[in-house]
Each structure stands twice: as structure tokens, then as C-alpha cells.
């Protein structure tokens, strides 16, 4: 009975979806849209080359603020849910070769993530992707060396500090925008350099940095509190 019902629901929904979404003609698109403006004016208006980054951190920067706040809320929620007396786990199973290999690899991952964060306005990537890569370093530490190593190197308090710094950096850039351009999260033209070079694109670079720190530290906290072993059950 249940399978039958599920099949009917699925068939009905699928059919309706396919009939309606099969093809969307585009003849009624507005003639001057935001998208067209972004594509034409991205370099002159923001100094960034990567249009997606320009949209995320300049044209629609408020969305990114909301989005990184979502991550912040998730981190708070998960820490709240998993806050019990905990015991860090140390891993002993992996051989010296594995540990050494990853020990050599980790600085490069770090370098890559910093590159992705700082070049967000020039090449694919940006604060979110680079921040997640930063968090991946924590995962590597936790898996290879055990979370007690991670705990001794980067205690949760420091991660919280980094996360809050990132969040406040984002807000701070927004408020500086009020002072310099008159609107929240505005991109001050004084900060723009030659398009194509690293210190161009005005406020996009510091916002990228803030988002990167926030996302990286936040996701690291999430993963860290997930793999901990609890000291006492219930």
C-alpha cells in the first residue's frame, strides 16, 4: 500500500514537473536586466574580473552576509547540541609514512586555500571555497593525527576567535562602506587598483578574507565537535 502510494505521488509530481518545466522559452525576458549590466560593467564598476565573485561580494553582498550568518547560526546550533564533557581522540592506527606524507601535504593545502581566498576576484573561487579548504586541513589533522593533536594546536577558543573576527571583518567592511561611499557594503572606489592585479577590486578582497576565516573556522568547529568522543553517555 505504502509503496503504491509513493509510486502514485512520484509519478504525478514527476509528470507535472516535466510538463511544466520541459522547456522555458526566453522570448519574454526583460530587455535590460541586472545580469546584462553585470556582464558589461563588472570591470569598470567593481574592478573584479570574476563576475560571480563580483556579484557575491559587491552587487549582492548582502546575500553573502546572510549566507555566512547561516553558517554562523549552524555552528552555534551544533556546538549547543554537542556541548557535553568530551574526550579528544588520538589516532594510532596510521603508519609513520602516512603521517609524514600528510605532514608535507598540509602546508600546500593551506597555500592553495589562501590562494583561492585572495584570488577570488580574479579566478574561480573565493571566500567560501577557500574557507572550506581551510576546514579540510582540520579534517586531515583529525584523521591522521587524531583530534588531540588538533586540540593542542588549534584549541576551540582560538577557532571561535577566528570565526568571530571573520564575521566582524565582514560587518566592519560594510560599515566602512557607509563612511566612504554612503551605503552599507559599498565598494569604495579609492581602494580599487589596476584590474587584473591582486590588490584591485576594492572591498571584495577584505570581504573574501573575512568570509574565508569565518567559513573555515566555523566548519572546522563543526567537524571537530562531530568527531569527538563523549566522556560519559547520558
Amino acid at each position: 500500500m505504502k509503496v503504491f502510494l509513493t509510486a502514485i505521488i512520484l509519478a504525478f509530481t514527476g509528470g507535472a514537473l516535466f510538463v511544466n518545466l520541459g522547456s522555458i522559452p526566453d522570448s519574454f525576458l526583460l530587455s535590460h536586466t541586472a545580469s546584462r549590466f553585470y556582464r558589461e560593467a563588472v570591470v569598470t564598476e567593481t574592478g573584479a574580473l570574476n563576475t560571480v565573485s563580483a556579484i557575491l561580494y559587491d552587487f549582492r553582498a548582502f546575500d553573502s552576509l546572510g549566507e555566512s550568518t547561516v553558517i554562523f547560526a549552524t555552528v552555534s546550533g551544533i556546538v549547543l547540541l554537542l556541548s557535553r564533557k568530551t574526550l579528544p581522540v588520538s589516532s594510532a592506527g596510521l603508519s609513520l609514512i602516512v603521517k609524514r606524507t600528510f605532514g608535507i601535504l598540509t602546508p600546500f593545502v593551506f597555500l592553495l586555500s589562501v590562494y583561492i581566498i585572495l584570488h577570488g576576484h580574479l579566478s574561480p573561487g573565493g571566500g567560501f571555497q577557500g574557507g572550506v579548504l581551510l576546514a579540510v586541513i582540520t579534517i586531515i589533522f583529525c584523521i591522521i593525527y587524531g583530534s588531540s593533536f588538533d586540540l593542542s594546536r588549534y584549541p576551540p577558543q582560538r577557532k571561535t576567535l577566528i570565526e568571530t573576527t571573520g564575521a566582524l571583518l565582514f560587518l566592519g567592511v560594510g560599515i566602512i562602506g557607509i563612511a566612504l561611499t554612503g551605503s552599507f557594503l559599498g565598494n569604495p572606489s579609492a581602494w580599487r587598483g589596476v584590474p587584473g592585479t591582486l590588490p584591485s577590486a576594492g572591498s571584495i578582497v577584505p570581504i573574501n578574507l573575512g568570509v574565508g576565516l569565518k567559513v573555515g573556522a566555523g566548519l572546522a568547529i563543526i567537524f571537530y565537535s562531530m568527531i569527538q568522543k563523549t566522556l560519559k553517555r547520558q
Binding site: 570574476n50 560571480v52 565573485s53 583561492i116 574561480p124 573561487g125 573565493g126 567560501f128 571555497q129 572550506v132 579548504l133 576546514a135 579540510v136 579534517i139 584523521i143 566548519l219 563543526i222 567537524f223 562531530m226 568527531i227
Partner: protein, 87 residues
């Protein structure tokens, strides 16, 4: 619609079916990470490198790690629980 895509789209569907069909949670999660990777390749074909990067890093990197952590936790609880019953 390139030749590569003609190969990738059916692959995507097959992988999605496999994700649902696997009984073992771990295989299901690993397949989900493959699903993310294939999705990322399709994004690159569709000129969306930013999204592809995010999908690879989040979908097949971070989320897989989180899933595996969760599954291992659940299994540990089950094992300790069973042992507790026997003793």
C-alpha cells in the same frame, strides 16, 4: 550537448539510483561523493567553475567527511550497546 555530456548524464542518473539502492550506508555515502564529483564536471562543462569548485570542496570533500564521522559514531554506539546487552 557534447559527447562527454551524453556519457555523463546517464552516469549521473545511474549513480543517483545506486546511492538510493545501496543498503550499506557507507557505500551510499561514498557514491554520493562520486555523484557530487560528476555534478561538478557537468558544472565545468556549463561554464560554472565557481560552482564546480564549491561543489567539489563541499559536496565530495567536507560533507563526505561529516557523513562518515556521523556513520562511525552511530556504529560505535550500536556496537557498545550490543556488547552491553550480552554482558
Amino acid at each position: 550537448m557534447t559527447l562527454l555530456e551524453a556519457f555523463l548524464l546517464p552516469l549521473l542518473l545511474v549513480i543517483a539510483i545506486l546511492v538510493v539502492a545501496f543498503r550499506d550506508l557507507l557505500s551510499s555515502v561514498i557514491t554520493l561523493s562520486v555523484f557530487s564529483t560528476v555534478l561538478a564536471i557537468i558544472y565545468i562543462i556549463h561554464q560554472a567553475p565557481d560552482v564546480a569548485l564549491a561543489e567539489v570542496v563541499i559536496g565530495s570533500g567536507l560533507m563526505t567527511a561529516v557523513y562518515i564521522a556521523v556513520i562511525s559514531k552511530i556504529r560505535t554506539y550500536r556496537q557498545t550497546h550490543k556488547r552491553g546487552e550480552k554482558e
